[in-house]
Amino acid sequence: MEDGAMVRATRLRKLYRGGAEVEALRGVDFEVGRGEMVAVVGPSGSGKTTLLNCLSGLDRFDTGQVWVDGRDLTAMSDRDRTTYRMRSMGFVFQAFNLLPVLTAAENAEIPLLLNGVRPKEARRRAIDALETLGMADRAGHRPDQLSGGEQQRVAVARALVHNPAVVWADEPTGNLDTEVTNVIIELLVRTNRQGQTIVLVTHNPLVADRAARVVRMRDGRIDLPRNQPAELVR
């Protein structure tokens, strides 16, 4: 793995079986630098989410290798991958995916508690994270008492609260209007500027434009336009 690469995948191949066999990833090579913000774009069914899931260890793949922060995910057991996600990764999803029965603060502090931080300390840090995102006054509210934008800000706080090595964001603005989208993407960009590695999947060109690099996918492959370098650096 080259110095400075936070995420690296080689010849990643993923098949979905069940009825007709679908090859979602067809030997993808992919790399994300440390502190880089990469946007993966492409039409529906191109394999963006599958790539993100495989890179983050949420899903298994059939062949190929993935390294994150120097650790080979391929060689890890499910238990080790889970532990690795707990310590080194943060996630933001399109549907926010906050636990509906927990308050904003309780949702945000889950990664800290999982990492063994004492409850009081975890709550303090969760409130700090929410405060950073302008959500401190909503810390005691449950998801059904928050707007979509507020829920996604809580999700971002949950993704960042334990200072993970990588934040994975799958369509983080898919359910939000333009105004709130700008707020969320601004948050991610600001975080990235502080050194946080971020990989996001999006359909939204406005969001993709804010990433340091945009990777296009089509039919399970990284799409390399003719006469274009493999990496599109903005």
């Binding site: 599958t50 899931n53 983050s56 949420l58 899903d59 298994r60 499910d78 238990r79 889970t82 532990t83 996600r85 707990m86 310590r87 996630f91 999803f93 549907a95 926010f96 995916n97 906050l98 636990l99 509906p100 029965v101 927990l102 309780e106 889950i110 990664p111 508690l113 999982l114 990492n115 063994g116 931080v117 004492r118 409850p119 449950r142 998801p143 059904d144 008492q145 928050l146 707007s147 979509g148 829920q151 949950r158 359910n175």
Partner: protein, 945 residues
Amino acid sequence: MTIAALAAASLVVFAYLILGLIAIRRPLLARVAYRQVVRRPWQATLMVAGMTFGSAAILGMATLVDSIDGTLSQTLLDSWGNVDLTVTSAGRTFSLDVARQLKEDSAVSGRVAGVSGGLDLAGSIGDLNRSLGVPTVQFIGIDHATGDALGAFQLTDGSKLDPTRLSAGEGVLTDQLAERLQAQAGDRLRVQIGRPSATPAAFDLELKGIAQRGPGAAYGRLPALFLPLIDLQQLSGIAGINIVRIRATGQGMAEVQAAHEVSPIVRQALASLPGGAGLELREVKADDLKNNAQQTAAARPLLIGLGFLVVLAAVALVVNLVLALAEERRPRLAVFRALGLSRAGMVVMSLMEAAFYGLAGSLLGVLPGLAYGAYETIFKALPVVSFTQVSAPTLLFNVAPSSIVFAISCGILVSLITVVLASLRSSRMSISSAIKQLPDPTVARQSWWRWSGIAILVLVAVACIATPSLPLRALAGSVLIIAATAALRGRLPERARATIAGAAMTAWSLSLPFRTFGDFNLYFGLLMIAIVGGVAGVALLVSANLKLLERLVASGSVRLGTMLRPPLAYLTRRPIRTALTTGTLGLTLAVITLFAIIRGSIVPEYTSVSNNWDVIVTSAGDPALALPSAVQPRIARQMAITTATYVGPAKRSVANSQASNDRLQDYLVFLVLSDEQFDHPPIRLERRASAYPDDAQAWRAVRDDPNLAISQFAVPGESLFVGSPTNAVQFKSAGASTTPILQPSWGSWHIVSQRGLQRIQATGLGTTLLLQVTPGTDPASVALEVRGALYAKGVDAVTTRQLYGEGIASADWYWSLFTDLFDAGIVVGVLSLAILALRAVVERRRSIGVLRALGYQPPTVLVALVVEGLLAAGIGVVAGLAVGLVTGYGLIVMGPISGRLQFGIAPSMVVVPAVLVIAAVLIGSFGPALRASRIPPAQALRLVD
């Protein structure tokens, strides 16, 4: 068809007609509802299963009541044979001419099928060939000239025997008496009747045949011996008769109706006879049937009401499922709403779906309901009882069509109502959020709706308070608490509000049993309100404060606290579902605990029942019975009590209560104590009238006042009326005991003084000997030896230990009727939890995916889900036990059955179901939890299932 069944069936037909009309006008709704039913067969199966349990429980209990009712009715019809009307004289004898003149009366003879004079007495019998004896046998003397009124005996060898063909010196036994005596045709029988101021008369008979039950054939009410009137007159020293039996024309109920129509004519004819004015004509068969119907009608609401306990559990299950399904279908339903389906349309669609489930579940419930009824009546052997109950009676399986209609209709109605209420709630959604599978934003509801609801609740409470009904007024307290809780919404933190509401509901509900009421029905109503409110209160209180448990755990282990956070949050913040699940189990466990306390408190100690007597020797034929001299050295203490049997009309009634029996042809045993025996009574009292400060004074009062008695099964204030309505002798109960050691179980015993006995026309004098054996002597061997020595006198001897054991077995059989039903409630409760665990896998798929993505290990997910089920079950069990214990304690110390009862509990009745619940939940939730923990996080996070 009963009114309740007709009303329920009409409502069902009406509801289906309306739904049918809507389906015709809006076929899309019906089509979608149908598709929802068939889309997930397992889900539909579970919904149907819930309602199957509910309607099966109702039908099972209804079948049980029908069977008991049918059996008793048939037994009564059999006991009277062809006899429909009787003429008696309050136990006194009168001339045989009355019967003969009545038969010859032209107005009567043309309208009835037969008139027969006879004697109906009690005595003892011994089979000299088999060396066995039975005391207290019904002797039915048949007049040769008119005996055909009884109907022909159906003999066990298949032949028939006309009663008039019984010659002098011949007798017929009923099969249950023959079984006890092991008698066979041709045996020599020795019959004996105790006569006052004379030596006991004995008479030998040849057993002509053994009669069995059959339509229209005479059988007798007790184990009976039929013999020629002349023989019985000679034996008893009675010249006349004490009963005229009249047979009406027709068969079955037509015969009963014919008897009713002819009775004024007979009464008129009777009045014109010399000496006939003081005689009483009674429609005995109709009276017995009416009394039986009243008794079962009184028991039916209680038993069917207990069946509704299972229905309540099934309702909780269905509501849980409906809410879970609504959550799962939310995006699809939101699309319908977006396309123009109104909220009412959604509710109607749910109703149509429920109409499928309700109909299928209720129809399927018929089979298990009947099976349950059949199990309780046919396959579960009734306990054997000693003394004259010579064989265990069997219940006849019987089910009224109206019971089936009622059960099916109730199942459907409960299903429809439950789904309407649940779907009203689930149809409230933010369409855009639901389509995107996002939580519904909290919308401040228009306060006037809330305040209108609160106002209605308050009005309902005030209306309940204004009524004289105590249960309704108790209910008003609960309603006011609910109204106050609703009014506090938004003014207090949710947890504080739930805690206050739970505490208030618990305190109010559990205070209800600690009020003194004499009326058991009212008190039972209060108990039910207390149990439902108490369980709801405790469940709410505990659920709202589970956060404390999380904090407690987290203070010890961060990891454990983190693991428990989601399950505790799901339980705490979904109060309706938690309350439904925990409430189902809690309610069932509370009722089980209450019944376990009643069972444990009612079952007396052996020493209390026996009063240290070891052996009881009984004879209804010898008032001066003495023990064989060979046995005497092994007897440390003995008491001989003179007994007398009254045969004739009698009734019991309780002061200030409408629950009084109609006057029936009865067989009462009176035990006459001497003054010394009153000073050292043979038994311990269980209850006494409040006028007497202690037992000794109650006994002395009976000694001194011939109007008083100590009676079996009596309650303070109850009176026994002996004789006809115009010529009744009243005995007021000064105290009571349920001890079985004094007399046979077929009739009640009454202890009176000698002067008390003189007030009635009692016959069949006998002796009850109470024996205490010397230390080291086996009471059973003494009983055996006495039986062997005195069988010819028709004497029976039995140990008090055996009687006590039989009493317990009898009670166990009775209680098993309830425990079987409660088990069904437990099964539904456990099923409910298992279904919730299953649903959790589907419903929380994405939440589980998130947790897995964030770092929850599969075993953690597994444990968290299992712990959630266990906690819900645990809360239910604890709430149920606590509420059951408190209400049970209230019942024992303050309720109408309080007094001499000691608070006790039958532990196995409670511990076994509680442990089984926990074990079943553990096993039931493990599979779904394991499945959930194994879902790859990426798969769990996908939007579409």
